[in-house]
């Protein structure tokens, strides 16, 4: 099982690296989907099949599809790739990589300091998760649903195109 874990981990890291490097946004999106799928496998190896399923269904399935829809609406063409090449100058990496490296170093140091036990290898059933959700975490579930409602209303309102703004842009383009 650990072999699967390491292979999936390697795939996830490489795919994520590709996401952030890729010039074509659609390609980056697809790489991200691969990354999520790999992470789902990692979840399964860790003994959380329910989480793995949810990762594939919601994260890779819904959220990434949302991204794809928006990309289609924005209708950026080949010019976008040129723009990205123009923006990604070689020296732009130095700062971000430096900062992230320091952050990573701090995390690794934390990990090294505290002795961590091995995984228990217990498979956690969906039933247990459900019991928790309807039990101690009931309030959190309600709050999460309110958050989703707020997100829904916000997205609806913001997503409405202003007729005036649209007309103006149309007039300016003419």
């Amino acid at each position: 099982m650990t072999i699967a874990f390491y292979i999936a981990a390697a795939v996830a890291v490489i795919a994520t690296a590709l996401v952030i490097i890729n010039l074509n946004v659609v390609h980056a999106l697809l790489c991200l989907v691969i990354s999520f799928l790999a992470v789902a496998i990692v979840f399964y190896v860790l003994g959380a099949p329910f989480a793995a399923a949810l990762e594939v269904i919601v994260y890779a399935g819904a959220i990434m599809v949302l991204f794809v829809f928006v990309l289609i609406m924005l209708n950026t063409g080949g010019a976008a790739i040129q723009q990205e090449r123009h923006w990604l100058t070689p020296w732009i990496w130095v700062g971000p990589i430096g900062l992230s490296a320091v952050l990573l170093g701090e995390f690794v140091y934390l990990l090294w300091r505290a002795p961590v036990a091995a995984a228990s290898g217990v498979l956690v059933q969906p039933r247990q998760v459900g019991a928790l959700l309807f039990g101690p975490y009931l309030l959190a579930v309600e709050l999460a649903s309110m958050l989703l409602l707020a997100g829904l209303i916000g997205a609806y309102h913001l997503g409405r195109t202003d007729r005036r703004a649209a007309d103006e842009r149309g007039r300016m383009e003419r």
Binding site: L99, L103, L110
Partner: protein, 628 residues
């Protein structure tokens, strides 16, 4: 009847309030009625109060309310009448009333008519408060009030900046004195615990030995204040320039009343001067020096009002001389006669100046004897009284008394007497010089206009008083009527008994003084009527011209103060224009502004940079949590 005391300053104050609030909107007749009437009522009340007081001469205090009540300092708004303040109150009120009546006609064409009467009323109210105050703080209030009104009235015609300059000069110079006086009040209060005048005097006698440091300090500081207000050495430079104001103002403030406030102060606090003999002598010496200095300066002036201004300085020098030798009531007697004849001189000079179309130079006038008879006779009577020609006028009796008391004052006495005598000679010369140049000789300028009853009546009344007011105090060898000094004795101690008592010595000294006065008139007649050739040559010689210039510019005092005080101050103000002392604080401000500009550069508006900031911050936070 004595309960009317508090109302005496109240009426002019009310008049001021009304005129100030209505600010020239009232019709002219109303302004005149309020302005002159308020002072008239005050005079009437003063007469009633004084008559009641003379019936039973017991000092009376009336406290209207407590002004301040703070940890031991409780000055009241209180009025105190005794012989001294009663007499001063009466003279101030009466002369003010006459001058207000005169002003009603004199200033009738002026656009600031309402403002003028408002300020004059405030002045009279302040002066009456000063004279009637029962504690030194209230007196100081009146003191400052008259200083303020002096400034306002000197600069009355404010559109001419020169008048503003003269007003400021007056205010600043008297301020020096006022500051000294305030410090004196502090010394008195901290050491004796009260500022009420009568208890203060008793405390001073009880606690302070004669000649110790504290009474000397207090007396010297109060003297400083008196010097400023009364324009004596070294603070006399403001009075000649104060002639920039209207003539009735000069008559009232700078001749009869305000400048005598210093004399009143010293007389009031005479106990302190008895306790401080060095300061007491200083008063006499300053008085003598000032009367000589001003006398010489008056000899060469060509502006009619400036002659009278220097004359005022000189006559107040006589009063200080009297105070300094312990002849308190003689000083007050001279104040009374001086008020009458100096006001008379100023008012008649005002008539001359106004009728000649604001011409001040006496050498452009001449031969006005027939054209302006009222002014001529008034001026002549005033001059006779000022020069103290024997027997017929009030000035003779008062000046004679001062000279006699000066002679009897121990070792310094004869010197002071000699100074007074020379001063009398100079007085006669300069005032009759004015008389002969202005009223005799060929007519140069034609006077225009008419003089109404409102100007005539004050001139006539003052002329009569200038002649007869002296008869209340006739010396022993002439008739012995000591009414005035007997009145004053209830408030002021008698002068020390003369060394060589004997009416024959007194008669001889008096005769010498009288001869000197007549000699002065004669010299003036010869020099300015006959104009002999040898005198002309002597006058025109370079040494003589230099001396004349020196005297004309007030013995160089203005230049001295300009060089030593004004110029350094202006130099410092100029180099401080960049505010170099404040540079530290403005430096702080510009530093913070520079920091602001630097910091605002960091707000680029770009999300990525902000995200980088967040990341860096979280790194630091985790580092602190982990490693500390």
């Amino acid at each position: 009847m004595l309960g009317l005391l508090a109302l005496i300053p109240a009426f002019p104050l009310l008049g001021f309030a009304i005129l100030f609030v209505t600010a020239g909107l009232l019709p002219k007749r109303w302004i005149t009625t309020i302005g002159v009437g308020s002072v008239g009522i005050a005079t009437l009340l003063a007469l009633i109060v004084m008559a009641t007081f003379l019936n039973s001469p017991v000092p009376y205090t009336e406290i209207v309310w407590t002004w301040i009540a703070v940890s031991g300092l409780t000055p009241h708004i209180g009025f105190y009448v005794d012989a001294l303040s009663g007499l001063m109150m009466l003279v101030v009120a009466f002369v003010s009333f006459l001058i207000h009546l005169y002003s009603a006609e004199f200033m009738s064409a002026d656009e600031g008519y309402s403002r003028y009467f408002a300020y004059m009323n405030l002045f009279v109210a302040s002066m009456l408060m000063l004279v009637l105050a029962d504690n030194l703080l209230f007196l100081y209030l009146g003191w400052e009030g008259v200083g303020l009104c002096s400034y306002l009235l000197i600069g009355f015609w404010y559109r001419d900046p020169a008048n503003g300059l003269a007003a400021r000069k007056a205010f600043i110079v008297t301020r020096v004195g006022d500051t000294a006086m305030a410090i004196g009040l502090f010394v008195l209060f901290t050491n004796l615990g009260t500022l009420d005048i009568q208890p203060l005097m008793q405390q001073a006698v009880a606690h302070w030995p004669v000649g110790s440091a504290l009474p000397i300090a207090a007396a010297a500081l109060l003297l400083g204040g008196a010097l400023g207000k009364s324009a004596q050495l070294p603070l006399q430079t403001w009075l000649p320039d104060a002639m920039a104001g209207p003539t009735p103002v000069s008559a009232l403030i700078h001749a009869a009343t305000m400048v005598t406030a210093g004399v009143y102060l010293i007389a009031r606090t005479h106990v302190l001067y008895d306790l401080a003999p060095p300061v007491h002598t200083a008063v006499a010496v300053i008085g003598a020096l000032t009367l000589l200095l001003a006398g010489f300066s008056a000899l060469n002036q060509s502006d009619l009002k400036r002659i009278l201004a220097y004359s005022t300085i000189s006559q107040i020098g006589y009063m200080f001389l009297a105070l300094g030798v312990g002849a308190w009531s003689a000083a007050i007697f001279h104040f009374m006669t001086h008020a009458f004849f100096k006001a008379l001189l100023f008012l008649s000079a005002g008539v001359v100046v106004q009728r000649l179309g604001e011409e001040h130079d006496i050498f452009k006038m001449g031969g006005l004897r027939q054209r302006l008879p009222l002014a001529f006779w008034s001026f002549l009577i005033g001059s006779i009284s000022l020069a103290a020609l024997p027997l017929i006028d009030a000035g003779f009796y008062s000046k004679d008394l001062i000279l006699w008391e000066a002679w009897s004052d121990g070792a310094l006495g004869p010197w002071l007497w000699a100074a007074g005598l020379i001063g009398a000679l100079l007085t006669a010369i300069y005032i009759f010089r004015a008389v002969f140049v202005v009223f005799f000789g060929p007519l140069q300028l034609e006077p225009t206009g008419l003089t109404g009853w409102r100007i005539a009546i004050p001139l006539v009344v003052l002329s009569i008083l200038a002649l007869v007011a002296g008869f209340v105090e006739i010396p022993p060898y002439l008739g012995n009527v000591p009414a005035f000094s007997r009145l004053m004795q209830s408030a002021l101690p008698a002068p020390p008994a003369p060394v060589s008592a004997g009416s024959s010595l007194e008669l001889m000294l008096s005769a010498i003084a009288a001869l000197i006065a007549i000699l002065g008139v004669g010299i003036a007649y010869i020099a300015f009527r006959r104009r002999p050739a040898f005198l002309e040559a002597m006058v025109q010689s370079p040494a003589s011209l230099a001396l004349q210039y020196f005297w004309e510019t007030d013995w160089g005092f203005d230049r001295l103060y300009d060089r030593t005080l004004v110029r350094p101050f202006l130099w410092f103000a100029r180099i401080d224009q960049g505010d170099f002392i404040d540079r530290f604080y403005s430096g702080l401000a510009s530093l913070s502004r520079a920091a602001y500009r630097q910091l605002s550069e960091s707000e680029t508006g770009r999300v990525r940079r902000y995200a980088a900031g967040v990341t860096a911050g979280s790194i630091v936070l985790i580092a602190i949590l982990v490693f500390a």
